[in-house]
């Protein structure tokens, strides 16, 4: 395995963080690189996968899961996050729902030149809603996922994990 591969955020690491966080339901819409994670989650009997046809529905569904005693996580891409603004506001912030959203950071180039407006507006969007977020680029960043779980629980608000290795993260 190359150093680059060793450093990437593996789907096994993400799943381990989810289980450590006590996640019961994954509310999600696939993005471009989540297939390996999907296969792992599907094979895990402790997780219920809830597919949404549009990301806004993920926030209302996650709120219902939480009210019913489950522990949801939302797994979407930044494009869908921006589509979900009103739902995130009303169904999670407005109802004090602690939930972590893992957001594929499409277009993120670290220190490179950004050519994708999806990336341009992602952090601005989160800042507009005063949503705390953590950037995860490599496997060594994975403990930030646990930090996000703790913060969501403590603040009763949504907290975002930006997966800044979208074109390699969750992949093999």
């Amino acid at each position: 395995m190359s150093e680059a591969k060793e450093a990437s955020l593996s789907p096994e690491t993400v799943l381990a963080e989810m289980k450590k966080g006590g996640i019961t339901h994954v509310v999600w819409l696939p993005d471009s690189e989540t297939n390996w994670l999907y296969l792992l989650m599907k094979a895990d009997p402790s997780l219920t996968l809830v597919a949404v046809p549009r990301e806004g529905l993920a926030f209302s569904c996650a709120a219902g899961i939480y009210v019913g005693g489950g522990k949801p996580i939302i797994l979407i891409q930044n494009t869908g996050l921006m589509e979900s603004g009103d739902s995130m506001r009303g169904w999670t912030m407005g109802l004090n729902i602690p939930v972590v959203m893992m957001v594929g950071y499409r277009g993120y180039t670290r220190h490179g030149v950004n050519k994708d407006t999806a990336a341009t507006y992602t952090e601005r969007f989160l800042n507009a809603f005063n949503i705390q977020y953590y950037l995860v680029e490599h496997g060594s960043d994975a403990p930030r996922i646990s930090v996000a779980f703790e913060e969501a629980q403590k603040t009763k608000r949504p907290v975002a994990i930006l997966v800044g290795d979208e074109y390699h993260g969750f992949n093999r």
Binding site: A51, L57, C61, G64, I65, G68, G70, W91
Partner: protein, 195 residues
């Protein structure tokens, strides 16, 4: 078309111990319900989300019936939720769709294609095992008990008389008896949810 209040009085007779997400029916339901701690009135957190919220609740509480009073305006905003619900196949999920053919809270403007929509047909096409449509109280009254005794997910589309409001939202009297936060806390306590 059926008066919402009359429909809810009939429903109440068959409600049992089901959790009720009262949605846009809350204006009448909170005066009719006899189990307020199993009711959840959330106002309008963001339009189009009540059904998916109730789905989440049903998935987290699979041994309890969950009933949602949705509206056709909400459903038109997120028709894909029908596929989402059908895929999960929650046997404890009962989707009451109150169809007044308009946006009553904004003055009564018609929803798109208001009179020609067949929501029961759409639900079946999305994979709901059963779906029904009612346009008079008598047939609803005869059937609602049986429907609630069968497994879900099921959609019950009901033509409802519009109760149109024109006063600005800021001038309307508050409808929720409890805050949303208190309603959630009360329901979670009722369900024994502690975390």
């Amino acid at each position: 078309m059926i008066a919402m209040e009359e429909m809810l009085k009939v429903f109440q007779q068959h409600r049992g111990d089901a959790i009720v997400v009262s949605g846009r029916a809350n204006r009448h339901w909170d005066k009719i319900s006899t189990r307020p701690n199993r009711d959840l009135a959330l106002g309008d957190p963001a339009m189009g989300g009540h059904a998916s919220f109730a789905l989440g609740l049903a998935l987290a509480q699979p041994k309890r019936k969950v009933i949602v009073f949705d509206s056709e305006g909400d459903l038109q905003m997120s028709l894909g939720v029908l596929a989402m619900i059908a895929e999960q196949k929650p046997k404890n999920f009962y989707h009451f769709l109150l169809d007044n053919e308009c946006y009553a809270t904004t003055g009564g403007q018609p929803v798109p294609n208001a009179k020609a929509m067949a929501y029961d047909t759409i639900a079946k096409g999305c994979g709901y095992p059963t779906a029904y449509a009612y346009n008079n109280l008598e047939s609803f009254s005869v059937n609602v008990g049986r429907i609630l005794s069968e497994g879900g997910p099921t959609l019950i589309a009901i033509k409802i008389l519009p109760e149109i409001e024109n006063t600005p939202i800021g001038q309307r009297a508050p409808r929720l008896r409890r805050t949303k936060e208190q309603g959630i806390a009360d329901l979670r306590a009722e369900l024994g949810v502690s975390h």
